[in-house]
Symmetry: C2
Subunit: 716 residues, 2 copies
């Protein structure tokens, strides 16, 4: 029945809430109890009798049939019931890294049998128990083998969200002192065994996924317990492939009326999860004396022996999560518009062909032949629909209008308003919004203005609209070179809008983006196509294992959402216009150091999110650098360039991109607090092209990416 409605827009997975159950061989009853009377959307249910051990089976041979003790045949539920409402819970007793060879072998056999069965049932996911000790290599090796030939099923590795070393109050039951014989003799229905994770459970996940080579079908189910790690430590998980948050009933508090509720920190965490398509699963027993529930039912909360007409003992927890969900702020229109762009890589629009058509009121056309670009396919003219997207960003044009207005008033005193005409050159004028903004600024300030609109797209000219210059990292789309070219039309006292722009980067965990950087898939597909590609990729393992260097040396425009920002942004390159220096060069080199906060723990850097900030005119700025971003600015890989002109031009203006840019690392780098991440970025200019190179120098040097612009460049 889902958690409810959230303004009608949220179609994400996080609407659905599950419940963890014990083994029950009456699956139809288990399902109807938890779904119909419990209100849950799915169950996380054991598929096999927890008493089963392959090594004991062989002793019992006695001529009997070798039917494995699965929970009912595949026919007890319909195929769609299995796939929509059941997540398979792999036997939690398994321990593939035990010192006991029999337990290890039994564990491997059982794991493979259960996954094979779940796969036969077409389940969407299986929950893998948490590794029992600090070492997980054999468990990971076996899961990795399974992943090589798995259908579409996801494997959720259960990882407890425990505090770091410094906290000693989190006791987690350990099996380190329990023998296999004891486990066998317990014959209990459910063994919740966690390792006493030494230090940081993220490390355990990190080892496991590295051993499994970032496989896209391996993801995380986080166990949320009563105490939580620091906010920085939790923040790392937003860049990891977390699919589910398993909230234990004993992490709930009790409110004044006896109902379960969560601490503020827990609320914030769960809200964050719901906002990142992470599903909630309730686990545990009723711990709260909720008035309307009879105490008897609390003992059998999973519905094993309870009438289905009876209210589900865990319903109050579900109701509380639904309350949190419905209470979340509705997304603003702009965010809703951008939903489908979240975390989808787009090839950056590759600069302009500055074979500009200058359109003035006379529609004269001038060719800047020295700026002719040799076009790449994506450097082609934009389609009409793309212009629509760009032009939605009204905040951008308001900022331009303010900057132009301020500049006009500064340049032309009131007393000369009727006599002096300012000449403005709009470089990359698009279909006209900047021209419109300029005209409005002139009208508002009562100044006279003559506009030259420069546009390279002949189709835009035909329809009397014009395109805009492009960019996403300040200077990444040749704005310095274009404006240098336009500068020769600028008077010595002319001004440029923007007067300067600076690019910024920060290291991010971005497992989805890393997995999406796959040859031939990202380059030329729209976000919607990319969705269908995404599931195809899951199968195309060969493709991933042959990762193409070219695609890991390309920067992508992306609306980053499921990423963890590991450190504050640092400035990279700055360009100032106009620049009349004789030895000017648009080459740049910057060494950057990032230090992650000590309470974050270690983290994986998949690459760098890049932003820009542009000073338009004096204090009017425009940008997407998170700490200073212009609020509510619609952001999509677009930029514009305007030059104020007076015989010819007095000012030029250029603002770049709106979504962030993502510079991937071919091999993700693990960083630890106290070991700064040293990164080098170059902006290189050749005779025919401009490109970036980048590398990590510390803690471990990476290859220099994109040497000579071999993978990614913009033609001059």
């Amino acid at each position: 029945m889902a958690l409810g409605e959230r303004g009608g827009w949220d179609k994400s997975e996080s609407r659905y809430c599950g419940v963890e159950t014990d083994f029950n061989d009456d699956m139809p009853h288990l399902l109807s109890f938890n779904l119909s009377s419990g209100g849950f959307d799915f169950v996380v249910a054991s598929l096999m009798d927890p008493n089963y051990r392959p090594s004991l089976m062989e002793k019992d041979i006695g001529g009997g049939s070798h039917v494995l003790p699965f929970a009912g045949s595949d026919l007890v539920l319909s195929p769609s019931q299995w796939s929509s409402h059941v997540v398979g819970k792999i036997s939690s007793w398994i321990d593939l890294d035990s010192e006991d060879e029999i337990l290890r072998t039994d564990s491997e056999t059982t794991l493979k049998q259960e996954i094979s069965w779940a796969s036969h049932l077409s389940l969407q996911a299986c929950l893998l128990p948490s590794p029992k000790g600090a070492s997980c290599a054999n468990y990971a090796r076996c899961v990795n083998q399974i992943l090589q030939s798995l259908n579409n099923m996801q494997l959720w590795l259960r990882i407890p969200l425990v505090k770091n070393d410094d906290d000693t109050t989190d006791f987690i039951p350990s099996v380190s002192t329990v023998t296999y014989a004891q486990i066998l003799s317990w014959r209990i229905f459910s063994i919740h065994v966690y390792s006493r994770v030494r230090g940081d459970s993220w490390e355990l996940w990190n080892s496991f996924r590295l051993l499994c080579e970032h496989h896209s079908q391996l993801s995380v189910a986080l166990d949320v317990l009563s105490s939580l790690p620091s906010a920085n430590s939790l923040g790392r998980w937003l860049g990891e492939p977390v699919r589910a948050a398993i909230i234990h009933t004993d992490s709930f508090l009790t409110n004044a009326r006896g109902y379960p509720c969560l601490s503020r920190r827990h609320q914030k965490l769960i809200t964050g999860f719901l906002n990142h398509s992470i599903q909630v699963v309730i686990s545990g027993k009723l711990n709260h004396g909720v008035p309307s529930v009879s105490l008897d039912s609390a003992l059998d909360h999973t519905g094993t022996n309870v009438e289905s007409s009876q209210r589900h003992s865990l319903r109050p927890y579900l109701d509380y999560i639904a309350y949190l969900y419905q209470r979340m702020d509705p997304l603003p229109e702009q965010e809703r518009f951008e939903l489908s762009y979240r975390d989808f890589l787009q090839s950056p629009l590759q600069g302009h062909n500055p074979l500009f058509h200058i359109i003035s009121d006379e529609f004269c056309t001038i060719e800047f032949s020295n700026y002719y670009l040799s076009f790449q396919p994506l450097m082609d003219n934009l389609e009409a629909q793309t212009y629509e997207t760009f032009e939605k960003d009204s905040v951008k044009y308001i900022q331009y209008q303010r900057a132009i207005g301020n500049a006009l008033v500064d340049r032309v005193p009131d007393e000369e308003a009727s006599s002096l005409t300012t000449v403005l050159m709009v470089v990359g004028a698009g279909r006209g919004p900047l021209v419109r903004a300029s005209l409005q600024a002139a009208e508002e300030t009562g100044r006279k203005l003559k506009i030259y609109a420069v546009e390279k797209n002949p189709n835009a000219v035909v329809t009397l609209h014009v395109s805009e210059l492009l960019g996403s990292f300040g200077d990444n789309e040749l704005s310095p070179e274009c404006l240098d070219g336009a500068q020769r039309f600028l008077k010595q006292d002319g001004i440029s809008i923007p007067s300067s722009y600076t690019s910024f980067i920060q290291p991010v965990t971005a497992s989805k983006l890393h997995n999406d950087v796959i040859p031939c898939l990202c380059a030329q597909v729209s976000p919607l196509e990319a969705i269908s590609f995404s599931s195809k990729c899951a199968l195309a393992l060969q493709v991933k294992s042959h990762k193409d260097v070219v695609h890991f040396e390309t920067a992508y425009v992306v609306k980053v959402h499921s990423v963890a920002r590991l450190a504050p942004c640092e400035p990279v390159f700055t360009f100032t216009h106009p620049n009349f220096s004789t030895k000017k060069s648009n080459q740049r080199y910057k060494k950057l150091r990032f230090e992650i906060p000590s309470d974050t723990g270690s983290a994986m850097v998949h690459g760098f999110a890049g932003y820009f900030d542009a000073m338009l005119y004096k204090d009017v700025h425009l940008g997407i650098e998170p700490s200073t971003a212009t609020p509510n600015m619609f952001s999509c890989c677009a930029s514009s360039s305007v030059c104020f002109v007076e015989s010819y031009f007095d000012t030029g203006l250029q603002i770049p991109a709106w979504f962030a840019i993502f510079f991937p690392l071919r091999t993700p780098v693990c960083i630890r607090p106290g070991s700064p991440l040293e990164v080098h970025f170059w902006r290189c200019c050749g005779s025919t092209k401009v490109w970036y190179e980048w590398c990590v120098a510390s803690p471990n040097p990476s290859p220099v990416h994109n040497s000579n612009g071999r993978s990614y460049w913009v033609g001059l």
Copy 2:
């Protein structure tokens, strides 16, 4: 004239000795002085006037021609003189990581101009000055750009062989406090500037080559100074691509007669270099009062103003190196035979087709149909020449003969020698040497023997010769499975020769092997073909950048020579024969930990060298594990299997490989003292094949290699 003759066999590069000279614009004189009168084979000479600075040139424009100040035109020497006798020495003042932007830009311009010139001259190599500081990212970025489009030329990065932190007596001139203006004002001919390398100069090299992505044309020239790091620290360099050792005259001592000589440690180091095709270059001034040399000439040792008839002042140093070279022990015949196999990867011969032909004295043929193998191309029958190679290994057969003799005496008391006949089954008998050894053992001990020779190769049967079972890592060629199969013919009290075998691994630095693991090149070429491939590879950069996972997940048979063994071997898997246990499995799992000695410093692990040791019978063993290796055993990817049989067989015997095996790592792992290397190895058995998987778990987890045997396996 080379260093002399060493038994007429040594055709390696290390016969040639060079001399480092200062800038001289009279190249023909420089060459004739150092070669004809000095006796050197080549010069390491500056190509450009050290006073040149691009930024100063531009100031001097004044209409003059812009000819760069190179040392003579390309026509002053013949093309073959340039390429055979000149190594270009890049201006040592360059500092691409300076804080001074003008120096940085000048350095980049000069570096590119000089390399471009050297490349035009078809020089074989250029010597790059050592990075000036701890940071080398911009220098490496620029060199990496150059490498992307370089012809066959090698770039030798000069790295001082300095002691670690603990040693503070090595003073190396530092430029950290020198301004660019000072450098310009010095106007000196040669500035030997080294960074005060903090800690370990290997780290500097390691950063540089990681940034350049292990490029095969980037190598090392080591500066040998008067004090040396520890033996373990030096040992690392044997696995790195060291091409030259530049020995400074002040690292020489003076002997009783006033001549230069080297300390024992230096002698050992230089001998080691000469044995690894590393060329010696003499550098510096005459520091020794050698009687026959006039003191005047000492001042102009590079020959700038010295008559060519005069004896070269550095000649005594060259003579001493030649003396060391000629004094080296000649290689034993076996080593000479193996020279062409050194460090060449060969695909492991992939097991046997156990469709055995059992050849007894009746030549009956039995098919073991349950052991039929689906053949890979390389699993085909061996050619006659390969047998020749195997059979050269007489020590192997002597050990077998001893083991068989001892077993015969143990089984048959003297008093029954004439009545009891022992039945012997030779599994994988090849062309007969083990049969011959068995017959000799019987004759020697006076025991009666009946032999069944089992061989799968029908051609070997036709010629009345027989082949041998293959293997290189103890169990890697299905010996356990083959002997398990043969075991059903073995009596309960039968014995197997060997009674057990164990595989071993150790982590190695092996940059050549790493660079040779390139798709499609290694798999099916002989060592001689591989040589020509090797130079083709240098050009085929695209190929390298698309490194194929499959080739990095394959184990190779290789005569390891230029490798650094970083830690003692650890045992991996052991198999014992006969094995009558009912639940026996040939699956294995081993976790290994390696600790590198603290005085080694950090080191790069490119993979693991694998060996075996086999217990033939009681104390008679045979193996290649370095600490216990059978001396003088010729070793080439061969193994044999013999079973003693009595109605049918009483004993079985199997010995595996002779060269080592190499398990690569897809991404080399850097290890540091105090952080153990944790490695996991699995031997996995499926219904149709047997394979290994391996991974590094610590310090940083690697992917599990060869999951499900996707890249490398042996069919059952």
